[in-house]
Amino acid sequence: MDILVYALYIVAFAMFILGLSGLTAPRSAVRGNKIAAAGMAVAFVATLIHIRETSSWLIIIIALVVGVIIGIPPARKVKMTAVPQLVALFNGVGGGTVALIAWGEFIESDGFTGLHVASGPVLPLVIASLFAAIIGSLSFWGSIVAFMKLQQILPGHPLSVGRLQQPLNAILFLGAVVAAVIVGLGSVSTGADPVWFIAILVVAGILGVTTVLPIGGADMPVVISLLNALTGLSAAAAGLALNNIAMIVAGMIVGASGTILTNLMAKAMNRSILSIVAGGFGGGTKGAASASSGDQIAKSTSAADAAIKLAYANQVIVVPGYGLAVAQAQHAVKDMAKVLEARGIEVKYAIHPVAGRMPGHMNVLLAEADVSYDAMKEMDDINGEFSRTDVTIVIGANDVTNPAARTDPNSPIFGMPVLNVTESRSVIVLKRSMSSGFAGIENPLFFGANTTMLFGDAKKSVAQVTEELKAL
C-alpha cells in the first residue's frame, strides 16, 4: 500500500509540473490549472490511503467540509478588483497550515524527542520543522497584514517606527531563531518546554506584521509574490520533515517560481527585494521632492474637450493603474475603446509590470472587460510607440508614468523603468485629485506642456468621455 501511495504522489507532482507549464501561455492556461487541480486530487487520495487506519476520521471529515464551505464562496464571488487581497488571504492560511503542522509535530513527538527513537537523520528533520514553523507563522501574519492593507482595513501607506524598524525586525528575527535553537537542543534530551515553541510562532508572527506594515501599497505586488514564495518554501520544509515527496516537490516549485516572479517585480521597479522589504520609498527624500512643486499649475480639461482630442487621433494608448481597479472602470474603458475603434482609431493598452496591487493585476481586470490580450502591451514593447501616438490616456496610474524616473537623479524612483507617456503628442490624465501616488512622489507629468488633467472618479470620467464621443 505504501508503494501505491508513493506512486500516486509521483503521478501527482508530474501533474503539478505539467499544469504549471500550461500556465505559461494564455491558450493552455485553463487546462494547466485543471491539470494541477487534478494532481492535487490524486495527492489527496494518496494521503487518505496512507492514513486509512486513523482513528480521527470524524475530525478530518468535518475539517475538510468546513474548509470547502469557507473556501469556495469568496473564490466564486470576489470581484476581480479584489483578487489581490484574496490571494494574500489564501496565501496566509497556507502559511498558517505549515506553522500548525510543525506545532502538531512538536506535540506528537514530545518536543521532537520521538524522532530520536528511529535511526537516521534527526537534526535535519528538526531543523526543517523549525524552519517551517518560523516561515509559516511569518507568512501567515504577513499575509494577513497585506490583506488588511489591500482591503483598506489598515491604511495603505507605510506604517513604521522609522529608524528603529530594521533593528527591531533584526531583533525579532534573532529572537525567533534563539527560541528555535532552544527547542532544537531540547529535542536531544527530554524535549523543550512547549512555551519555547509557542514563542517561535509568536515572535515570527510579530516579525511578519512588522515587516509588512512599513511597506506601501505600491510595493504590494512584490510583497504578495514574496510571501507566496515563502509559503512554498516552508511547505517544502514541512514535506522534508514529514517525508512527503508531493509536498517537497510542490512546495519547492512554488518557492522557485515565486522567487522568479518576485525578482521580476523588483527589477521592474529598479529596486532590490531587500530594499523593498526594508520598507518605504526612499523615506528621507520625500519631503524635498514635494516642497519643490508649489508654483506649478496643472491644466484641467473637460470630458467634451477630451472626447474631441480622442476623436481626431489615429492611435490612442491607455495606461491603466491602481486607480482603474479602485474605480472598477475596466468595463467603462472597454466601452470607450469600442467607440474609438468604431471610428477607425487604434487603441492599445500599455501595462507596466508593477501597475496595480499584484503582478499582472491590470491584465486580469482588462481581460474581465473582454479586452483582447493582443492589445495589452508590455512596457518594452510599447515604449517605442508613444512617440507615434496622438493621445495617451492615463487612468489612475501615477508612479509608473513619472518622467522624473528618467530625468531627475534626485527623485527617489530615479532609474525605475517607466512608461514614456510624455513622448506622445498629448496626455490626458484621469485622476481623482492632485494628491501624489502611494509613494508620495510628485509627478512632473501632471505639469507637462502637453498634459491635461480630467479630475473625477475614473469610471464616471471615462463614461462621460464615451458619451461625448458618441455625440460627436
Binding site: 507532482f13 504549471l20 500556465l23 505559461t24 501561455a25 494564455p26 492556461a29 494541477a36 487541480a37 489527496f44 492514513i51 486513523t54 482513528s55 480521527s56 478530518i60 475539517a63 475538510l64 474548509g67 473556501g71 473564490a75 483578487v83 490571494v87 489564501f90 496565501n91 492560511v93 497556507g94 497550515t97 500548525l100 503542522i101 502538531g104 506535540i107 537516521g120 528533520l125 507566496n228 512554498g232 511547505a235 514535506g239 522534508l240 514529514l242 517525508n243 515527496i245 508531493a246 509536498m247 517537497i248 516537490v249 519547492m252 516549485i253 512554488v254 522557485a256 517560481s257 522568479i260 516572479l261 501595462i351 499582472g360 491584465n363 486580469v364 473582454d370 490580450y373 493582443d374 495589452m376
Partner: protein
Amino acid sequence: MDYTGFLANIAILVLSGFIGFAVISKVPNTLHTPLMSGTNAIHGIVVLGALVVLGTAENPGLPLQIISFVAIVFGTVNVIGGFVVTDRMLAMFKTRPTSTTMTDGKN
C-alpha cells in the same frame, strides 16, 4: 527514515527547485496574476501534511486535535479557494482568440 531516504528527498528538493525556475522563466506579464494564484493553490498541498500529522498520531490528545483541525481547515481553504479563483480568472482569458480576430483586424 534512513539517511539514504533523506538524501533522496534532498535530491528531489533540489531538482524541483530547478524545474520551478525552468518552467516559470518565460511567463508573459498577462499571466502573472493567474500564475501566482495558481502556484498559491499548489502550495495548498500543505493540507496533506496536516492530514498526515493527525492521521498517523496514535491517540491524539485534544491540543493536537484542535491544532490539526484548524490546519486542515486552513489548508483546504487554500487549495479549494486557490484553484477556483484561478480558474475564474483564466476563464476570462479563454474567450480571447475569437474576439481577437475581430478587433485586431487592422494589425
